[in-house]
């Protein structure tokens, strides 16, 4: 039986620049990516949505602050409220925070420097749809590249919503509690600053990002079978 390739929407904002990389990676890992322009008021039939990295609207005002009002974001919010799988990478994480779909907000790096390097991450939770292929305590090496990645967590953020942490001493941006990835309480929405789509082939360094994106493809495929 040939494996079904689940459709995964990849949003494209003006200023997105990792949309095609995310689509390429999802396709290489068995997904069927569908690019969705930010001006679309509705999503096509998809089993998951990825908000890619980049600098939507030039990061004007605050990173993600303007993109969150794109017509497609209303559809994404509705999709998320209905339990749909939504993954935000870097700028996508910033947009999900500004949209209130994830807690907290991302601020300029404590160093004020743009950071671009591989960072070691520790898996805190292996039981959300985005990390099902990882084991708790496992270390993943995935690159970051951002200027506004300092995560400010709400004081009452439950520990269970922390999915990935920068390894001890490797926090590249000053994030609260070394948080690299956070999920909503329900676990169907996650944002992370590192770029799993840039770590899916060992030829280019680490292949650890594939664990995250393949977990998402697995979960999307299950939802597609459940719907069929």
């Amino acid at each position: 039986m040939s494996e079904l390739r689940p459709r995964i929407g990849v949003l494209v904002f003006p200023g997105s620049n990792d949309d095609h990389d995310a689509a390429w990676a999802l396709s290489a890992l068995g997904g069927d990516p569908q690019l969705v322009w930010h001006g679309e008021p509705e999503l096509p039939r998809v089993e998951a949505v990825v908000l890619p990295g980049g600098f939507s609207y030039g990061d004007y005002l605050r990173a993600g602050a303007i993109a969150r009002f794109a017509p497609a974001m209303d559809a994404v919010a509705e999709f998320a409220r209905g339990g749909g799988l939504v993954l935000g990478i870097c700028n996508g994480f910033q947009i999900l925070c500004e949209a209130g779909l994830l807690p907290g907000v991302l601020r300029p790096n404590a160093s004020l420097e743009f950071v671009c390097r591989d960072v070691p991450l520790v898996v805190e939770r292996g039981d959300v749809p985005f990390t099902a292929r990882c084991a708790p305590g496992q270390t993943l090496v995935i690159p970051v590249k951002h200027g506004d990645g300092c995560y400010q967590a709400p004081a009452d953020l439950p520990e269970e919503q922390v999915v990935l942490r920068y390894a001890r001493g490797a926090n590249p941006n000053g994030s609260d509690r070394d948080i690299a990835a956070v999920a909503n309480a329900e676990g169907n929405v996650m944002g992370l600053m590192p770029h799993p789509e840039h770590a899916v082939d060992t030829l280019l360094g680490s292949g650890d990002g594939a664990l995250i994106l393949a977990s998402l493809v697995d979960a999307a495929r299950e939802r597609n079978y459940a719907r069929a």
Binding site: L61, R62, A65, I66, F69, E98, G104, V105, R107, P108, N109, A110, S111, L112, C150, Q152, P154, G174
Partner: protein, 82 residues
């Protein structure tokens, strides 16, 4: 009606820009402390009264101009701008 919105990082929020500005000013010999960097937004608002204008600008601040998690805002109406 002219409106000016001042947006500031809330107290306790790390402000690396403010810290960098403070360091530079100190290097220049100015004995300053606690520098914080925010932003200014000047607007022309269509409203019949100052109260209406203020209410509109407050909604703008809550929805877009400031992020209440990390920023506070101040609205100045009818200010003269150059």
């Amino acid at each position: 009606m002219r409106a000016t919105v001042l947006v500031r990082p809330k107290g306790g929020i790390l402000d690396p820009q403010g810290e960098a500005v403070e360091r530079s000013l100190r290097q220049l010999g100015f004995p300053v402390g606690d520098a914080r960097v925010g932003r200014v937004i000047d607007l022309e608002v269509e409203a019949a009264t100052a109260e209406e204008a203020r209410a509109q600008v407050e909604r703008m601040c809550e929805r877009l101009l400031a992020n209440p998690l990390i920023e506070s805002y101040e609205i100045d109406l009818g200010a003269e701008h150059r």
